[in-house]
Symmetry: C4
Subunit: 222 residues, 4 copies
Amino acid sequence: MSHPHTKLTQATPARLEAFSDGVIAVIITIMVLELKVPLHDGLAGLMAVLPTIGLYALSFAFTGVYWVNHHHLVHRTDQADERTLYANLFFLFWLSLLPFFTEYVADKKMDSFSVMLYAGSMILTGGSFGLLRLVIGRHLRETGRLEREDAAAERKHVISLLMYLVAVACSLRYPHIALAIIGLVTAVWIIPSAKVNPIEHCVDVHAARREGFDDAQTGRLQ
Amino acid sequence: MSHPHTKLTQATPARLEAFSDGVIAVIITIMVLELKVPLHDGLAGLMAVLPTIGLYALSFAFTGVYWVNHHHLVHRTDQADERTLYANLFFLFWLSLLPFFTEYVADKKMDSFSVMLYAGSMILTGGSFGLLRLVIGRHLRETGRLEREDAAAERKHVISLLMYLVAVACSLRYPHIALAIIGLVTAVWIIPSAKVNPIEHCVDVHAARREGFDDAQTGRLQ
Amino acid sequence: MSHPHTKLTQATPARLEAFSDGVIAVIITIMVLELKVPLHDGLAGLMAVLPTIGLYALSFAFTGVYWVNHHHLVHRTDQADERTLYANLFFLFWLSLLPFFTEYVADKKMDSFSVMLYAGSMILTGGSFGLLRLVIGRHLRETGRLEREDAAAERKHVISLLMYLVAVACSLRYPHIALAIIGLVTAVWIIPSAKVNPIEHCVDVHAARREGFDDAQTGRLQ
Amino acid sequence: MSHPHTKLTQATPARLEAFSDGVIAVIITIMVLELKVPLHDGLAGLMAVLPTIGLYALSFAFTGVYWVNHHHLVHRTDQADERTLYANLFFLFWLSLLPFFTEYVADKKMDSFSVMLYAGSMILTGGSFGLLRLVIGRHLRETGRLEREDAAAERKHVISLLMYLVAVACSLRYPHIALAIIGLVTAVWIIPSAKVNPIEHCVDVHAARREGFDDAQTGRLQ
């Protein structure tokens, strides 16, 4: 069977965004259903459940970072063909497994294997996001809207995936350090936006951008 | 009781889309809640849960394909009367049972009966989508926006339903082959969009379309 | 504490719709999580779960009817003040209890008390929807957009609530008949839209409307 | 790693609203999944579950009030930079824990410690909302859209947080009184909008506003 319905595929990206928002909103929220009220009363109970809450916070932050990046990526395309829709669904599939792997880690009390799976699922999520970036990036390049910032964001993503790979290796011996690495990568995505002063930012935008590139190039990727 | 509120029913399809997106987003995501962390530690545990993850992936892909097709169908109507709203709800009802039947198959360890139910629910989902296509198609025909591509998409749908019927028959003896057939049908919907080069596609659109029709006609349906 | 932030409350109804759609989409979909895979294999298992599926279908249809009516009610207002937002939340609260009362009826094997609660929750949902209609209706009246159709829809609602009251009474002795009454009321909301031919409908709109009013007035309510 | 993708961060707040609506819709609705059907039949069962339903209603109302306030806050910004997105996610994180702490209180039969956690989580949710208000308020101030009403709303928020602090202290001895205080604070947010007559309101808006400020100033905060 080939692909005859060409015109049908010229959809607006509005519904792509709406659907992705819905899926990510459910993913980020149903994870909390996996938090189980501890058996013990009082402080002992809270202490017992705190590591799981921390793990939930990590998965929440991870999903949040991807939502922000998805937002940046998608809102500039003015076209969503079938290939983009399916690449997006592929990314959402891997992301939708995060609540499961989060529960996995919590249930197995953060043992080596479960943390390895957790970090591994993040690599697959990140990889599928890279695929989506590739598909949408092609559209942007064709219409001349691919910007230097995209290259920088891509580079940051590649570094993140390499860090998750380090976390996978670490998890064999030191699962807690592996989780710390994952937390660090997430923090690196969030903290700069929190720190930067938006007013100065607007004024010194070219300086900041140049500095950003220098910084990124120090990492010597590509 | 008759139907006096005529004007009230002339609603925009925007909210129809938004609501459908919400429902499909929840359907596609809550399925993951049915993935249970295995009892065994390490690789043995992962191996035990892998078939269920595969099944989840299949249901996710099935729902994704319907979302893409729903998207194509609905975004061209500029009117959503009550009949359309209820036909849409009827489709969403059958789709919403998919997480239940997915869990059914997983719980019953993919036995004949559960796989038959699973394939059967897909026929009902597909049939109710056909009904929605009929209702919306009438609007499109009236306003002259029904295109040749719609006929091709419809034909592809009919073939898919026949394949699910084959899967139902297969499931009595060979439930795993039945699941493979379902997976194949899903792949046939996804793969062409992934393969086709959108640039050539735009240029050779008429050739591609003609080829598509020839292809479809080889199947000798209608 | 009084109410000083007047200007802040002049919100657009777009987000009211979006939020309501989200809540109703979750309500209508998470109910399926309460369907439990039966212990028995094969047909016996399906038979055991069929009444629960029927009950789920009833709750799904009930929610669907309210979504359609909510849609009709809200999309004509061009203003959503705080009072409207809270009236809407009050309605959503009662509707959000439906999955719980559906599970209640299923768990208690459709006994008298659980069916009474189920019908009772529908009266409260319907009553809170009436309140929302009152609040929004006032806006429509002020801006001269309240139509005769609204009166007809309101009358139909009052009759429905009376029928649910009959169901409550019935449930004491004949819970299954009570469920049948609830099913009948739901069907009366859905069937006319399915039957009526939209083409004739557009032509004979005035005749149909007049007929509708005569019909409704035969019921002699108000 | 610095922050080179400046242009990418200039997103519209539409998707921020859509995503927040999705998350809040899921939060407010999945709480009902924690309501367990009681073991006892008849009225005894309903009585046993009523306190939990009341608790659910309280958490629903709390979330509803935050949705309304979030709505007021966000719909006036015309810009959503990364800092706003992350401040919003931080708020949604704390709000997403509410279903967990609601279940906590229900499971622990409203004991001192669980009620303290519940009130404590409300302070953290309120605090993170204050942070979001700060971030967005800065944008509003820069573009001259910060209004006197914002100050009043902020003051009301600070008072609410202080009341939750009183509830935390109360919970050590009288958890039920602590819950009553939380209920009172929620009622104070909802009732004025329900009482005020919108028609008079529009006419006497300046009087009402002045009165509002006087009222608030009686509280002597700031």
